[in-house]
Amino acid sequence: MKTSARYRTTGDRLFDMFNVVCMLMLMAVTLYPFLNMLAISLNDAMDASRGGIFLKPRIFTWYNYEYTLREAAIYHSMLISVLRTLVGTVVTVFCSAMVAYTVSRPEFVLRKLVNVSFILTMYFSGGLIPTYLLHKELHLIGSFWVYIVPGIVGAFNVVIIRSFIEGVPEGIVESAKIDGAGDFGTFMRIVLPLCLPVLATVSLFVAVWQWNSWFDVFLYNSSHIKLSTLQYELMKILQSSGAAMTQKTAGDAFANARGQALNQVTPASIRATMTIIASVPIIVVYPFLQKYFVKGMTLGGVKG
């Protein structure tokens, strides 16, 4: 909706100014926590404990990052995070697409049954405890596969991909079959390439979800340090720095004592550094792929 310039009244102009100011404030409030974290992580830890760091570091240093990245455990958790994101995304997207293809075939005898059994799971779940006991029974606890196997097909992903496949002209699938391709061949060579846009969207959602997960690590692998992820390591730091939440910071003396013990880092500086490390992949990737994210949201919205 555009109002042509000649109709603009003083009220209009005032509203526009007010609107722009509101939007600028919104952007500032959204970005400030990120920039503040970045500034603290790039500031000398001892100096930062004096407070007063807002948008830029007072005493610039890379030391917090050097210190954090020297830790073998952090490296390992990073590896697991990357691994679960890669494996989880590929497996989930491929399997979801395969199921979506089968329920998109009008001639498939079990089409309804398969479809309904997936859709139903969108409305209920067994809940935390039965699921936990099941995973325990299946020996998934203490295993990397607990990050992958419970989520290999998502009902929601199936719905989104199916509605995309149904938009593909039937003639294309038919002609592939006439040329002698079986269902699997048609799926791999015809349908998958045609679905790339929707697959990109679904992949992004799955990847972000995998990267951000910490609760399954906490629930199933909290005593298996080798399977810890970056988010879970950050969560542990967050929980142990309860002081920041519930006590007034005791001032320089406390910070100095802790700081010296840890050789120039403080719990706060480590936390800031880990926060930045854990969010950087998303912040870097996000602006380029934003349109796919938004597309996914509107695709999902159609179905409701």
């Binding site: 909706m1 555009k2 109002t3 109709y7 209009d12 722009v20 939007m23 919104l26 952007m27 400030y32 503040n36 974290m37 404990s49 004096r50 407070g51 007063g52 807002f54 199921v99 089968t102 498939f108 005898v109 079990l110 398969v114 059994s117 799971t121 409305y123 209920f124 779940s125 067994g126 809940g127 935390l128 405890i129 039965p130 699921t131 099941l134 269902d183 799926f187 990267w211 951000n212 910490w214 629930l219 988010q231 950050l234 967050l238 720095s241 920041a244 939440m245 519930t246 007034k248 910071t249 800031a272 880990m274 926060t275 854990a278 996000y286 934003q290 994210f293 949201m297 509107t298 919205g301």
Partner: protein, 306 residues
């Protein structure tokens, strides 16, 4: 004869079967078998024994649950946080969508959108870390810093140590994280409003404010209704991660919701049966709410979910 063709068809479609049946089996194991696990809500479950060999106790756990005073506290917290998030989330998202729609520069609009969507994609762990930082009492904590500067408070407040602030902090955190993202669906709906309606309103002498109020907002009504239905079904889902990450012993009376209650009794205390009973209560009520809301929507002649 009919039977034969059915089997014949199945044989013919064996590839499709191979492509879907393994996943249906997976679905049964991972999504339907846990429902079978609801049985332990009626048992005195002890690990190590088979499910059907457990001691049966009938509705005892449900009785304990409804007699447990902390359960009512937890329900209060769940509903309060849900309703606060729902109201704040709806109001702010609709407002922002309308304001974004009124921006004259497409480039500026895109920039605002890109930035405001960002927090949706970071994890709650990262977000909580930032929130803790913003609320801290040292001079880097922006919230205390600003309030001190303006003179609203005399000394820094320990925001996360007092229960009475928790719901508000949670509501604002949810808004910070999801506000931009929540506008997407409204913005998509606004693009479907017929421009002729705006022109007609303009000819009738409606000013900009009136056009927002009488054209844009009514245009959003179907989407608002369907999202309300969806969210009413989720009334007992007040979220889990932010409460777990931002809550602590001092604020537990306000931060503990049904999910944390289940986690505490089930995983931390090992009382699987009692926790399952609480979880089952939640699922059953949720399904009832969802169907109820859907029914009401149908009665009102509104679009509905199913």
């Amino acid at each position: 004869m009919a039977r034969k063709t059915r089997w014949g068809k199945l044989l013919e479609q064996r590839t499709l079967l191979l492509m879907s049946v393994p996943f249906v089996l997976w679905l049964i194991v991972f999504r339907y078998v846990p429902l079978w696990g609801w049985l332990i809500a009626f048992q005195h479950y002890r690990p190590g024994k088979r499910l059907l060999q457990q001691e049966w106790v009938g509705f005892d756990h449900f009785k304990f649950l409804f007699q447990d005073e902390s359960f009512y506290l937890v329900m209060r917290n769940t509903l309060a946080m849900s309703l606060i998030n729902l109201t704040l989330g709806f109001a702010t998202a609709i407002m922002l969508a309308i304001m974004l729609n009124e921006l004259r520069s497409a480039f500026f609009k895109r920039t605002v959108q890109t930035i405001s969507y960002l927090p949706h994609f970071i994890s709650w762990v990262v977000a909580s870390s930032m929130i803790v930082n913003a609320l801290s009492t040292d001079t880097s904590g922006i919230v205390n810093g600003l309030l001190l500067k303006v003179g609203l408070i005399r000394e820094p407040i320990l925001w996360l140590a007092e229960g009475k602030y928790f719901w508000g902090i949670l509501g604002i955190s949810e808004v910070w994280k999801n506000l931009g993202w929540n506008t997407i669906i409204y913005l998509a709906a606004i693009t479907t409003i017929d421009p002729a309606q705006y022109e007609a309103a303009e000819i009738d002498g409606a000013n900009r404010w009136q056009r927002m109020l009488y054209v844009t907002l009514p245009g959003l009504k179907p989407v608002i209704v369907i999202l309300l239905i969806l969210n009413l079904g989720n009334l007992l889902e007040s979220g889990f991660e932010p409460q777990y990450l931002l809550g602590n012993g001092l604020t537990a009376d306000y931060s503990e919701n049904l999910d944390l209650f289940v986690l505490k009794y089930g995983i931390a205390m090992g009382n699987f049966s009692f926790a399952t009973a609480a979880g089952m209560f939640k699922t059953v009520i949720s399904v009832v709410l969802l169907f109820g809301a859907n029914h009401i929507a149908r009665k009102l002649g509104q679009p509905r979910l199913f």
